[in-house]
């Protein structure tokens, strides 16, 4: 009886294949690693929960994927991870605001900037990639666009792109020092206007990009922002052509957001013990390193990375370290306590983007309206604030 590992992660075929061949091979019991897009993933899970019996042994997904089904997940606090030290912040996230360990952190990633080395010549004078700011980024993109005749900044604004995380975790914190509370502040308006400025030098094809590695490889884009897993291919294929560097900083700091993937066990899991064993297996340092190689998601446990890492990891590691260790670093957390409203929360940011940047609507007006929507969502979820907003009692306010 193999454990069915039902996951939304490592979906690109090559990664899936590596998960099976390299990461999960070592587990004692057989594992059937199956990926699905969010729709089928959730539908299947909900169906099993409703039916009261199922075949899924273990769930793999992002923080947001679990928020809807939190009530139907087994408490994992008793899982014996065998002395491995798991990142506490993420473990807390994994409780989904309850007292139980709803999911166990599995791997983490974040977003970074990547640039084609050809672009470096257009870097504005005095700019250090490691301390780059949004203004510098804009100027740089402008330079490139003007010198080469086509905009070469790229941003994953396609339907499967992860753009909402950029606004939530990067743009807003960098300019306002907040994600929710200052949603419609003057600083926020500045942020959007800056972004609009940047957008002028952004490859218009960006609205079709789900991930940036391809446009980078094809040369359509020279400078890009994306999830590390979605940049990796470019670095692995042409290690010498690209550089990775931290996300830019704004007036309020260098906002960035981690991405956490977790594993969870649904209450309908046919063999919970075995599933728990698999959870423990996933957290083993060797497994975590194998996972890093396969998916470019970094470990959530304390491990020492060996030297034989793929080019992408070698490039990202220092960049991430620089970003998180920067003096102006301003980490933002994934939304917490929103339950099944996570999707709608994200939509507020995407909608703002589409209306302001793509639709060219008035910034102030749009923010007013979206703020109302945001407030409604937060109020409904009664979610208290999370970093970088200051903790609140009761629902996080939208000023």
């Amino acid at each position: 009886q193999q454990v069915l590992f039902w996951s939304t992660q490592a979906r690109p075929v090559e990664e899936t294949q590596k998960m099976r061949d390299e990461v999960l091979k070592g587990f004692e019991g057989a594992v059937d690693y199956q990926v699905a897009e969010d729709g089928p993933w959730l539908t299947r899970l909900q169906a099993e929960l409703q039916a009261g019996s199922g075949t899924i042994g273990l769930l793999g997904g992002l923080h947001g994927d679990f928020s809807t089904v939190g009530a139907s997940l087994v408490d994992l606090s008793a899982v014996d991870v065998g002395g491995v030290k798991v990142n506490e912040a993420y473990k807390k996230l994994g409780m989904l605001g309850t007292g139980e360990q709803k999911y166990m952190p599995w791997m983490q990633a974040t977003y970074l900037m990547a640039a084609n080395k050809q672009a470096l010549q257009y870097l504005p004078a005095g700019t250090d990639l490691n301390t780059i700011t949004y203004d510098q980024l804009i100027e740089w993109s402008k330079n490139i666009a003007e010198k080469t005749g086509s905009p070469k900044f790229g941003f994953p604004a396609g339907p499967k792109g992860l753009k909402h995380r950029f606004f939530e975790g990067f743009l807003y914190p960098s300019y306002t020092g907040s994600m929710v509370t200052k949603f419609r502040s003057a600083e926020a308006e500045t942020a959007w206007n800056k972004f609009k400025e940047l957008w002028q030098y952004t490859n218009p094809n960006s609205t079709n990009y789900a991930f940036m590695q391809e446009p980078l490889l094809s040369g359509e884009v020279w400078v890009a922002f994306d999830h590390v897993a979605r940049l990796a291919d470019a670095f692995n294929k042409k290690p010498d052509e690209f550089v990775a560097f931290p996300a830019p900083a704004g007036p309020a700091g260098r906002g960035f957001m981690p991405v956490v993937a977790g594993v969870a066990i649904p209450k309908t899991s046919p063999d919970q013990d075995k599933a728990k064993a698999l959870v423990a297996y996933m957290l083993k340092p060797e497994t975590q390193i194998a996972t890093l190689k396969a998916t470019n998601f970094f470990p959530v446990v304390d491990v020492k990375l060996p030297g034989d890492m793929p080019a992408s990891v070698k490039a990202f590691g220092p960049a991430i370290a620089t970003m998180t260790g920067a003096p102006d670093a301003l980490p933002a957390l994934l939304p917490m306590g929103l339950g099944d409203l996570g999707g709608k929360f994200n939509q507020v940011y995407t909608d703002s983007f589409e209306r302001i940047v793509l639709g060219g609507e008035d910034v102030h007006g749009v923010l007013e309206q979206q703020a109302a929507a945001l407030k409604a969502i937060i109020d409904q979820a009664k979610a208290p604030c999370w970093a970088p907003d200051k903790p609140s009692t009761g629902a996080c306010p939208v000023d």
């Binding site: 609205t207 079709n208 099944d340």
Partner: protein, 281 residues
């Protein structure tokens, strides 16, 4: 004869089947559309219609259908006529025309992406012809028109075969004698097409158009592949409500809207293309 019972007997399997596998789940979903937290409400519809994207979505969907379906109909008729007129190579031509049938919308989207993409074949072709000197962005958010055209082309390319095959089969059943009679009575090929083929093909036309229109309201994969979020359509919004925003009630409402639009058009075509009972063959 089993008399009056026979038709019902023959419909029984299909009806039972649809009741179990369609009507029952449908009822559950429809129920969700008109309730929220167990109470009846029209809020879901209000929420759906209140979304800022909603008018654009409806407009895009209808516009796409309004442009794609007539072109497809024309092309399908053209293909069917060509196929039925060819003497040699008929079956080869039919096969070729039918090929897109086997191609899923996902794959079709991919194929056309390979053409319209900035690094795609179209740009290569244009630049080798010297029309352009640098790749043109056809699918960028600024060029909504080219996105629309690309989506329309892909849809036309992909789904014309469905209509074509229905029409080919229908044309095969029209007795030759009627064409001959029309020919003798002075009808040009075009007039024969208008006055014999089209009216006698009405049942097949009806089927082809209705099915096609219904499917046109459900376009999604191709649009997503080519247009990203730049060309929001109803089906995409439904998906969005269901899976991204995880609001099953609004998603159900949105699906009901698609259903309602489809039903409206279906009834329209059923009426317009009705064949009076006495005028059947």
């Amino acid at each position: 004869m089993h008399g009056k019972a026979l038709p019902y007997l023959l419909l029984m399997p299909a009806t039972l089947f649809l009741c179990i596998f369609f009507l029952y789940p449908f009822a559950l979903v429809a129920f969700e559309a008109v309730t929220r937290d167990g109470a009846f409400t029209l809020d879901n519809f209000r929420t759906m219609a209140g979304s800022w994207k909603f008018p654009v979505t409806v407009r895009n969907t209808l516009l796409l259908a309004a442009i794609v379906v007539p072109i497809q109909l024309t092309m399908a008729l053209l293909m069917a006529s060509v196929v039925s007129r060819l003497e040699t190579g008929r079956s080869a031509a039919l096969y070729v025309f039918a090929i897109p049938l086997g191609i899923s919308d996902l794959a079709a989207g991919l194929i056309w992406l390979a053409i319209f993409d900035q690094s795609g074949f179209l740009n290569t072709l244009l630049s080798s012809l010297g029309v352009i000197d640098r790749p043109v962005m056809f699918l960028g958010y600024q060029s909504k028109l080219t996105i629309f055209i690309a989506v329309a082309l892909a849809e036309i390319w992909r789904a014309t075969a469905i209509m074509m095959v229905i029409l080919v089969a229908g044309m095969g059943l029209i007795p030759k004698e009627y064409y001959e009679a029309a020919e003798v009575f002075g009808a040009s090929p075009w007039q024969r097409f208008l006055r014999i083929t089209l009216p006698l093909l009405r049942p097949s036309l009806q089927t082809a158009i209705i099915l096609r229109v219904i499917l046109a309201f459900e376009v999604f994969a191709v649009v997503a592949a080519l247009g990203g979020t730049n060309l929001p359509v109803l089906m995409g919004e439904t998906y969005n409500w269901q899976f991204t925003l995880q609001d099953r009630n609004v998603a159900a409402a949105s699906a009901l809207l698609i259903l309602a639009i489809s039903i409206g058009f279906t009834l329209f075509f059923l009426r317009v293309l009705r064949v009076p009972k006495e005028a059947r063959i």
